[in-house]
């Protein structure tokens, strides 16, 4: 158990922490969140005494950490930083074993630890143990950074924005892994982030800080239901359920589609399909109104004796208006097995199509921002 009692800290004139009081029970995943400068990192670094409080006391399992030797204390607490901080002069195996070596574990147990650790994140020992950090990707490096913190099986692990510098996909994977590790090894983790999505995903308890004070300390669900002030509400932003927003089809459609006039020849259409790599064309009439589709299957089955595609048009593709409810459209795509839904403007001309792909892309843009 970690306990802060009236902890305050000033850097120069700035009050960084102002009378902090809280308790973290064993085995909890606690996330410290807030704007930069709110004191979250300072709070974290006080736990392993990288920063000392001006006033107040910090206890770990009832022991005042001021009375414990700093170096000894840090060996009992795992630490992961944003810059990863793997030592470039050491191999992966040596990096993982930094703390076990400091604690004078013998060679055999160190080897066993490296095997176990790499196993846990599915990185084959033979492939990775003797690589140097510079020979791996950022995501792989931070995996090792995390393993290094867990190697000597400390009961507490501190993480200072560990995934902040990674791309969204890698971040996601590492978040899943860390959550799994924490559950499996039953550690107390204190985790600093400014990403509310990350906090909601990982935390058992979220501590929201502002100007060196705790504004709210609560499980994610409670915070979502009852944010203590407007800043928290702003932080929660898109993660809160807001019933007013209904997404429409046009948010999810793709617009660069291939249409063809109904008076075109069959040969021409097959060539176009081959060239653009699609199996269906959308057919329009003289005034650009949608009339149906023609697919390669129809052409193969019935197209031998036809010159024009007009006779091959079918109109069993589902159509929706561009301001229609996206939800319904998704359900249709997911349940019917259709590959696409045709989106029409109000004058029956074609606006675009929604596919599973365009749907997934639009969803990822909303979730992680349009980064491409």
């Amino acid at each position: 158990m970690i306990k802060f009692e009236h902890v305050s800290k000033k850097f120069g004139k700035k009050q960084v922490l102002d009378d902090m009081n809280f308790e973290i029970p064993d085995g909890q995943f606690v996330v410290l969140i807030g704007l930069s400068g709110c004191g979250k990192t300072t709070t974290l670094k006080m736990i392993n005494r990288l920063i000392e409080p001006d006033e107040g006391r910090i206890y770990i399992d009832g022991k005042d950490i001021e009375k414990v030797d700093k170096v000894e204390l840090r060996r009992q607490i795992g630490y992961v930083i944003q810059q990863i901080g793997l030592f470039p002069n050491m191999t992966v195996a040596e990096n993982i074993c930094v703390v076990p070596k400091l604690l004078k574990y013998d060679k055999e147990s160190r080897d066993r630890i490296v095997h176990e650790m790499l196993d846990m994140v599915n990185m084959p020992y033979d492939e990775y143990a003797h690589k140097y950090p510079s020979e791996m990707s950022g995501g792989q490096q931070q995996r090792i950074g995390v393993l290094r913190a867990f190697a000597a099986s400390p009961p507490i692990v501190l993480m200072d924005e560990p995934f902040g510098a990674l791309d969204p996909m890698t971040r996601e994977t590492l978040q899943d892994e860390i959550k799994k590790l924490q559950k499996k090894l039953n550690k107390t983790i204190v985790f600093v982030t400014h990403d509310m999505g990350e906090a909601l995903k990982l935390a058992d308890t979220i501590i929201f800080m502002e100007d060196g004070k705790i504004v709210q300390m609560a499980p994610p669900e409670t915070m979502l239901e009852n944010p203590a002030n407007d800043n928290i509400r702003r932080f929660l932003g898109k993660h809160m359920n807001d019933d007013a927003v209904t997404l429409t089809v046009e948010d999810f459609m793709r617009t660069n589609i291939i249409t063809v006039d109904k008076h075109r020849g069959v040969r021409e259409c097959t060539e176009r399909m081959a060239r653009t790599g699609v199996d269906t064309l959308l057919v329009v009439d003289e005034s650009d109104k949608y009339i149906g589709t023609v697919s390669i299957k129809d052409i193969r089955l019935r197209g031998k004796n036809e010159k024009l595609i007009e006779a091959l048009i079918t109109d069993n593709a589902k159509t929706v208006r561009r301001d229609g409810d996206a939800h319904e459209c998704f359900d249709h795509l997911l349940n019917s097995g259709d590959n696409y839904v045709v989106v029409l403007n109000n004058d029956d001309t074609i606006a675009g199509i929604v596919t599973k792909n365009s749907m997934a892309k639009a969803l990822s843009d909303t979730l992680w921002g349009d980064e491409r």
Partner: protein
């Protein structure tokens, strides 16, 4: 040519050996002291802010002046030359060690501390190994400089390749000057290459150029 070697061959060989002795001893002494002082200064950055500029100023005093002053106190002994050369060899090593250690990424220093390394462990397991390429670069500089500075030993009559050069200058004999200058240049280049080779051998794979982050 053959005639030259008949007359001067023995002498030249002796001069080269003396020269190499001066270089080997002074660079070794300078390296050890420079490394130690560099490490020490990196531990007390507060002092370093005014010690390092002093070092730089001292370094600009011409070697000839320094040897001259030492000569007055210590007399015409090899130790005079060795002390002077060691002091000069020390500077590049000291500076490079100091900056090398200071330039180690803050994140790595914090990681070392956060893992529970003592100051001492952080220095020897992380900071010094990472500063090592810099230290060796300092050693290389010191060696090459010392080869040319050792020429000054002849000024107070203590031999080395400088003998040939001074004699050549005073006798207006270009052959003698070249006989001193060429071996000195060859020694400088050869020792430089040797140290480069050494550096490649001792740098771990993860830290070689191009592999560094």
């Amino acid at each position: 040519m053959t005639k030259f070697f008949e007359i001067y061959g023995q002498m030249l060989l002796r001069a080269i050996i003396t020269h190499l002795e001066y270089v080997a001893i002074s660079v070794s002494v300078g390296f050890v002291i420079g490394l130690a002082l560099g490490i020490l200064l990196s531990r007390i950055p507060k002092w370093s802010t005014f010690i390092m500029p002093l070092v730089s100023i001292f370094q600009t005093i011409p070697g000839i002046v320094f040897i001259g002053v030492l000569f007055l106190y210590l007399g015409m002994k090899p130790i005079t030359v060795i002390i002077a050369l060691s002091v000069y060899a020390m500077f590049p090593v000291l500076k490079n060690t100091y900056t090398g250690i200071l330039e180690v990424d803050e994140g790595l220093k914090e990681a070392a501390k956060g893992c529970g390394m003592s100051q001492f462990q952080s220095l020897f397991r992380v900071e010094l190994p990472l500063a090592f390429p810099n230290v060796i670069a300092g050693l290389r500089l010191a060696t090459i400089y010392t080869v040319s500075w050792a020429v000054l030993a002849a000024m107070i009559g203590l031999g080395g390749l400088g003998d040939f050069i001074y004699q050549g200058v005073s006798a207006n004999d270009n052959t003698l000057i070249i006989a001193g200058a060429i071996p000195a240049a060859v020694i400088a280049v050869a020792l430089g290459a040797l140290i480069d080779r050494l550096q490649k051998l001792v740098t771990p794979r993860g830290m070689r150029r191009g592999a560094a982050q």
